[in-house]
Amino acid sequence: MSHIEAPDPKPRHRPSRGPRTEMPARPAEERARDFDEVNLGYSEEQAIAEAERCLQCKNATCIEGCPVNIDIKSFIGHIINREYAEGVAVLKERNALPAVCGRVCPQEEQCEASCVLGKKGEPVAIGRLERWLGDFDLACDLEGRCKPEVGEDTGFKVAVVGSGPAGLACAGELRRFGHAVTVFESLHALGGVLTYGIPEFRLPKSIVQAEIEMLAIMGVEFVKDIVVGATYTVDELMTEQGYDAVFVGNGAGLPVFLGIPGENLNGVYSANEFLTRVNLMKGYEFPKADTPVWRGRKVAVIGGGNVAMDAARTAKRLGAEEVFLVYRRSEEEMPARREEVHHAREEGIEFKMLCSPSEVVGKDGWATGLVTTRMELGEPDDSGRRAPVCVMDSEFTIDCDTVIVAVGTRANPLLPKTTPDLELTSRGYIVANDHGATSKPGVFAGGDIVTGSATVILAMGAGKRSAQAIDRWLAGTSR
């Protein structure tokens, strides 16, 4: 054994000391009037400049920060070396939809929060680099695109319920193992929240479609307009339809309302309804598209997450003169991605922080205002956040003709109701272990339906782990 190390074939990387490379975005006045994408993405030069800031750490802590442990150091290394296709391959190893995650991951809490550069200055813009590589891949013709290898046909058939990130990731991984996969989607369009929830200006639908096409090329079969639990039950899929295993990734799409008086007045929407009318049904093209959406002049959006930001910015784009964001806590506590908060502010969304809505008032059946009470921050609660408490006699009314409730979603009971042996939590979510196994043999679950509303990358991670567990489970069964 020789102790002489092989010489490094690549020139030694000398990190640049430049500032974090900003990503170009369209000016606020322009973009707030249409639905085209806000961010423009890096150019090749910008991507290289940003990649060169990376220290290529021996102990790359960033990798731990990514929920699916993408080898961040390696994909950035490939950008530094101008080996883009190789970089894409590294991403795809762990993440089926890099162009999506690069755009929507809360990087400031995940990978970028764990980058050593962030300790003293600004972390490497990992998300923007991931987005750039993802877009690089999508811009190639089919031949040039990174196409995951499909395994040899195993003869097993797996049904995937739901075409959101969890279902898509699970389906892709199952094909790599060689199982036949059918994805059943209840809506008339594929993609889950990526299609009906997150707006075009943040995540162009063409990107989601291109990724789904790649899965179709890999042999995933997609069937729309099937509500599992109504058209077929899970049991029927496994008996009459001959599927050997089922993955349930139906999300947590049931909108929650506040239960305050006046919530059923006309002009009051759940964020899900509002965003569905606009994104899925193309309400902004009414009457060319047949589905109308009520275009308010003064809109109050209740909530502080990504969903609330998306609803507020969508309302603005539909022509609202004033859009208020009403949130019970303070801005630091808002769960939305920092970038969205920043963009929303730039676009003229008015933040009404520490305000708790108590009633929607109306006239002749239509909303005319939102009564709110001012709050102040008290002691930290169980979640470590300082709980807001009411300020006495501080009630005031926000004049508005539209109220959009974006305070979260719950599990939809439609599927569990017809699958009696599926164990649920007290709040109706499916109980599944780390590998997605549920109480019902052969049935796996992952994504929002297990965790409650979370993130795209967590749903994809769960879908992928479930696929691996399904593969092991199938290996132990006899045909």
Partner: protein, 279 residues
């Protein structure tokens, strides 16, 4: 794509259509509905099954031409296809032997009432059907109802052009007053369901109504269809469409149905101009 396999015009503005959809036909039950989209830019609209055959793999629905989507739908012929059909959705009508049951069908609601009356009769109930329409022209399915084994079929028109010149609430009240009813089902325009429920409430006759709030997905995802039942918010598509008529806030439902009236009129007017078929 879902091919149209059957079409029949029941009156000037009411049509029955059959579509090939084996998976749905296999599961459909009385009182359930489907969501359909005519084409790529189409709206999703709910329609109740009027009939189905699991063996032959088709479903049927009866619709009234009221706006752009039903207008487009009325132009489809056998051999054309619908972009999307989803179902069966909603909780099936609770069918059991309740004794003496009145099924009231008003206007196009008769289409929804038909499978309900059929199922109720099959479950051993003594069923009286009260059919209401503005005039004879708009009266639908009379022969189909006659073919069921009913105790009685009572026809009412506003102008007396067929059957009694009365509102459906008149015979309903007589049945209640005679103590001849154990249960009532009212299916039709909201205003009719409201007055039927008020009538039966006086006599404490339990009453089921089939609500038709505006819907988007029909699967519990949007909340557009919310209705107030005894002060509690329910989703029409997954908790209903059947509810206790004595607990429904009908005023709220009527108000909520009006949200898009102006938009819809605009869309239909524009469509009519383009297709130049008729007014």
């Amino acid at each position: 794509m879902f091919p149209v396999v059957y079409k029949r015009q029941l009156s000037e503005s009411v049509f029955e259509m059959g579509v090939e959809a084996p998976a749905i036909a296999h599961k459909a039950k009385a009182g359930q509905f489907l969501m359909l989209r005519v084409d790529e830019n189409g709206e999703r609209i709910p329609l109740t099954f009027s009939d189905w055959s699991a063996e032959e793999g088709w479903i049927r629905f009866i619709f009234m031409r009221v706006g752009k989507t039903t207008h487009k739908l009325s132009h489809l012929e056998v051999g054309d296809s619908l972009a999307d059909v989803v179902g069966p959705l909603g909780v099936p009508t609770h069918v059991e032997d309740l004794g003496r049951v009145a099924v009231v069908g008003g206007g196009v609601g008769a289409a929804v009432a038909y499978p309900v009356a059929r199922a109720m009769a099959a479950a051993g109930n003594e069923v009286t059907v009260i059919l209401g329409a503005r005039n004879e022209e708009l009266l639908i399915l009379e022969d189909e109802f006659k073919a069921l084994s009913l105790k009685e079929l009572i026809v009412c028109t506003d102008d007396g052009s067929a059957g009694r010149k009365d509102l459906v609430t008149a015979p309903l009240k007589e049945l209640c007053a005679a103590g001849a009813l154990d249960h009532a089902m009212a299916i039709g325009p909201v205003i009719m369901m409201k007055f039927c429920s008020a009538t039966t409430k006086e006599y404490s006759v339990p009453t089921t109504v089939s609500l038709n709030p505006i819907m988007v997905d029909g699967t519990g995802m949007c909340g557009a269809c919310r209705v107030s039942i005894d002060g509690e918010t329910k989703f029409g598509c997954v908790d209903g469409p059947d509810f206790d008529g004595h607990a429904v806030d009908f005023e709220e439902l009527m108000s909520r149905q009006r949200v898009y009236v102006d938009d819809e009129r605009l869309a239909d007017a524009e469509y009519s101009r383009e297709c130049r078929c008729h007014t």
